[in-house]
């Protein structure tokens, strides 16, 4: 209710603003709105999706220049040109996004910066773009007899566009797509294991970037009616970056606040622009060091300072509510591994490993450290492509398939060192697991946004049920990093189960758990199996393996050395040797002496 009131107040204030502004002030406001749209776009790509995109100002330029060239050179009408400009900017975003498929972070930053430089180089030299002088005398956008050459009237056009753009950005951030983008930013491997199509998501981020850049460029062309290379240079890219960082890069509203604030400051300091530049730089450095989440993150930072003083209570896990047992279908093999060999340069991590896991089994995989257990999981879940051999899932070959494809085929896993998304709440972590839509589903965002909201509500209901089942009610809205280790393990298990898997891979789920927690874990895993899920579990806690597993496979130096019921495997001589060391093979004093003698002879 308060939120609706706030939106109405903000809208009314924005609507009435021009009445209190002079001719120049309204121009400043118009420019500020354009920067706000740009900042929202950069916030989406960089803050939410984590793609270091330093070409945003070039997309802005592509939008503005396309309008300028099409209206003055090709004689198209303003709005036709605008539509084509939007398409061009999105295509530019797609092209600039291709490098993101191969590289990330600073690599991506430098490549996108290079592409931005390439763009300015082109417009300063190409005849069609008016070279260094730019293109002037763009037509005034016609609008049913309304004279848009007036800054006041153009303000309202901008306001409407901005409101729609902002609403769309907020919809993206607060729905499945935004959650996936944030998950990809925090940990793209784990996001892939949850079924997020990483390449498509990265391209989506760049499409959004191009879309917002193009939109801002069109408005710029309509407002200023003059384009020149220096409006789209690296200095302006830095200004835009400063807006997003100071405002708070992962908060869309923060980006808007940063953009508006810095636009106004820039205008106020126009006479001292050298010092202003110095000031932006210093503020960016200070924000990065002391308030990494920008203005938007300050309330949270203050709250956590206060809370630290107050001290909190220790979070508790609730009891687990078992799944309903499904009828056990027997027989069919869920997973078959045929002669898989995995090499890392000289090291053979897996050597001709073969095994089959029938439906409804709890299979234990044990072996000394470095025996290849986790490598095997990485092969099954698609992180590694084996050099030889095949992996079959329910009889269909899936060797070398990307992790997200395997996740879509209902293979879920947990990680040895926990890979929860630290900046997302527990609930959001589970929502990521629950959301089984494919990326192309996002066509609904522009066409039927209300369905997105409906889907999101349904997801949240299911997340509530899952939270109850795993006894996480008390911690549902906390950030994982603030929680005890045992609870984090439980969350990761719940997130994997959210995917409604057919095959569940647990990598050392009992590591770091206390006795009571291990007992609960065994209970949960049995219930999961009874619900019809096949479970493979890597574990060092032999007590747990013996009591829980139906069958145990022992790996040593990348080879399967034993396979069978736990009681049989435990007394297998090779297994005992692998764990305790073979005293016959180890060098003793006698054998060493013999070797020395042989060498001296």
């Amino acid at each position: 209710m308060r939120r609706i009131l706030f939106i109405i107040l903000a809208a009314v204030a924005a609507w009435l603003l021009p009445y209190g502004l002079g001719g120049y002030a309204i121009h400043v406001a118009d420019v500020a709105i354009i920067f706000a749209i740009l900042a929202v776009g950069l916030g989406l790509t960089m803050g939410v999706a984590g793609q270091i995109n330093l070409a945003q100002v070039a997309f802005f330029g592509v939008g503005a220049y396309t309008v300028a060239i099409l209206t003055t050179r090709a004689g198209l009408g303003f709005w036709t040109a605008a539509l084509l400009a939007l398409v061009t900017a999105v295509v530019a975003g797609l092209l600039a996004g291709i490098p993101a498929l191969r590289m990330q972070s600073h690599y991506l930053g430098i490549v996108t910066l290079g592409l931005a430089l390439a763009f300015t180089n082109w417009v300063t030299n190409a005849h069609v773009a008016g070279r260094a002088e730019g293109i002037s005398d763009l037509p005034v956008p016609p609008m049913f007899g309304v004279d848009l050459s007036s800054g006041y009237l153009f303000y309202y056009v901008e306001l409407v566009v901005f409101a729609v753009a902002l609403a769309f950005a907020l919809l993206v951030v607060r729905s499945p797509l935004g959650r996936r983008l944030r998950a990809m930013r925090d940990d793209d491997l784990a996001a892939g294991a949850l079924g997020a199509e990483i390449p498509l998501l990265r391209m989506t981020a760049f499409v959004l970037s191009g879309l917002y850049g193009g939109l801002a460029g069109i408005l710029y062309a309509g407002l200023i009616r003059f384009v020149a290379p220096e409006s789209f240079n690296i200095a302006n890219m830095f200004l835009l970056l400063a807006m997003v960082i100071i405002g708070g890069r992962s908060s869309i509203l923060g980006c808007v606040v940063g953009a508006v604030a810095l636009s106004l400051v820039r205008e106020a300091l126009l006479d001292a622009s050298g010092y202003a530049q110095l000031g932006y730089g210093l503020v960016v450095v200070l924000v990065v060091v002391f308030a990494p989440k920008g203005l938007a993150g300050l309330p949270g930072q203050l709250r956590s300072l206060l809370r630290r003083r107050g001290g909190g209570s220790r979070a508790q896990l609730g009891p687990f509510q078992p799944y309903e047992a499904a009828a056990r279908a027997g027989g069919a093999d869920v997973l078959e591994i045929r002669g898989v060999t995995m090499r890392f340069k000289g090291l053979v991590a897996l050597d001709e490993v073969s095994l089959t896991v029938p439906e409804g089994q709890i299979r234990g995989i044990v072996g000394p450290n470095g025996s290849g257990k986790t490598t095997l999981f990485n092969v099954i879940s698609g992180f590694y492509t084996p050099g030889q051999g095949a992996v079959l899932l329910r009889g269909r070959e899936v060797t070398g398939m990307a992790p997200y494809r395997l996740a879509q085929r209902r293979v879920a896993r947990t990680f040895q060192n926990l890979r929860l998304f630290e900046d997302l709440s527990v609930r959001e972590n589970l929502l990521l697991g629950l959301d089984r839509t494919r990326t192309w589903w996002i066509w609904r965002y522009p066409s039927v946004p209300w369905k997105v909201l409906g889907y999101e509500r349904a997801l949240r209901r299911r997340a509530g049920a899952l939270i109850e089942r795993f006894g996480l009610a008390e911690v549902a809205d906390a950030e994982p990093r603030s929680l005890p280790y045992g609870i984090q393990r439980r969350i990761e298990l719940a997130r994997a189960m959210a995917m409604a898997p057919d095959l569940l891979l647990l990598d050392e789920p009992a590591a770091g758990l206390n006795g009571e927690e291990v007992r609960q874990l065994a209970e949960i895993v049995r219930s999961i199996r009874d619900a019809g899920v096949t479970v493979i579990i890597i574990e060092h806690n032999m007590g747990l393996v013996m009591s829980l597993c139906d069958q145990v496979t022992v790996l040593s130096s990348g080879k399967v050395i034993a396979d069978g019921p736990p009681a049989e495997v435990a007394v297998h001589p090779d297994v005992v040797a692998a764990y305790l060391g073979d005293s016959m093979a180890a060098p003793t004093e006698e054998s060493a002496e013999a070797a020395v003698e042989e060498a001296t002879r």
Binding site: M46, G50, I52, I98, P99, R102, M103, S105, H106, Y107, G109, I110, V111, L113, G114, L115, L117, A118, N121, W122, N125, L189, A193, I234, F238, L241, A242, I245, G274, Y275, Q277, L278, Y280, G281, L282, V283, V284, V285, V288, V289, P292, T374, F377, N378, S381, F383, F415, Q416, R419
Partner: protein, 289 residues
């Protein structure tokens, strides 16, 4: 053929400077995992410091270079001190923080030296040497010789001295290095100072070849950075090879596409990096699940 060789010489000269810039990037990157986007601006400050001192005092160019190195090393120490809380933590934040520092340095240069910049006369008075019809500017030879000498000295320092070895150790594993009693903070500060010193050397050398102005750092920094990437980030031989390769790419683009050279250079660079993101001497980063 002659045109080709002439382009080659120009490319190698600029390549030597890019290699110096790239080495500065790399030494900071491998010791502390910090991608210093302010590096280009440090190069620019170095160019200004050296040229101003040279023009004002009429002392030999070599003295001016030493002064410039001292000035930028100091700046490097300040940057390192500021960003120390972020080291080995959040990559994106560090990256943006150094971009902020770059803006500060650029704005500072505008305030101190003005926005227009100045030309620097070549410190070598003799005319170009003529070898089989190809004109080799003597200053080019000087640049290449100085760059080679600096590379040699750096290699000696890293491989033969205790401090250099300590720096290598920090590069490989900063926690293990701490456990061995190496003062990681001091080692990082030194790496940063050396990196900034290399930047100043590059800046002073390129001053007489270009027009010294406040925005030169942007382009030079990006080109040096690109050179480091081409060779393989964090690898010293990679920085040298990458620098030379990028200088040649630049020279050939300038020869064949004139005013569009920058466009062509960065498009080609983007394609090369997409084909081989780890560069020639590859930074091997394995993401462990």
């Amino acid at each position: 053929m002659q045109v080709l060789l002439q382009t080659l010489i120009g490319g190698v000269t600029f390549g030597a400077v890019y290699a110096l810039v790239a080495m500065g990037f790399s030494i900071v990157y491998r010791t502390m995992g910090l991608v210093n986007f302010a590096h280009g601006s440090v190069v620019m400050i170095g160019a200004y410091a050296a040229s101003t001192f040279y023009l004002a005092t009429r002392l030999p160019f070599a003295v001016a270079i030493v002064v410039a190195i001292a000035v930028t090393a100091l700046i490097g120490l300040v940057i390192e001190r500021f960003l120390r809380p972020l080291e080995n933590k959040d990559f994106t934040l560090m990256l943006i923080g150094t971009i902020g520092f770059g803006a500060v340095l650029e704005a500072g240069a505008v305030l101190v030296w003005g926005a227009t910049g100045h030309a620097v006369p070549s410190p070598v008075a003799t005319g170009p040497i003529d070898v089989a019809g190809i004109r080799i500017p003597t200053y080019s030879l000087l640049v290449i010789a100085v760059a080679a000498a600096a590379t040699g000295l750096l290699a000696l320092f890293l491989q033969r001295t205790k401090r250099g070895a300590a720096m290598q150790a920090v590069a490989m594993d900063h926690q293990a290095a701490t456990a061995c009693g190496i003062h990681v903070g001091r080692s990082n500060a030194m790496a940063f100072a050396i990196g900034a010193g290399l930047a100043a050397l590059a800046g002073s050398l390129i001053g007489p070849m270009l027009y010294v102005n406040p925005t030169m750092g942007g382009t030079l920094g990006i080109k040096g950075f690109a050179a480091a990437m081409l060779g393989g980030f964090g690898s010293m031989p990679g920085a040298i090879v990458g620098g030379l390769a990028f200088g040649l790419l630049d020279a050939f683009a300038a020869g064949n596409f004139q005013e569009y050279s920058e466009l062509v250079t960065f498009l080609v660079f983007a394609v090369i990096v997409m084909i081989r993101p780890t560069g020639i001497f590859g930074e091997a980063t394995v993401n462990r699940a």
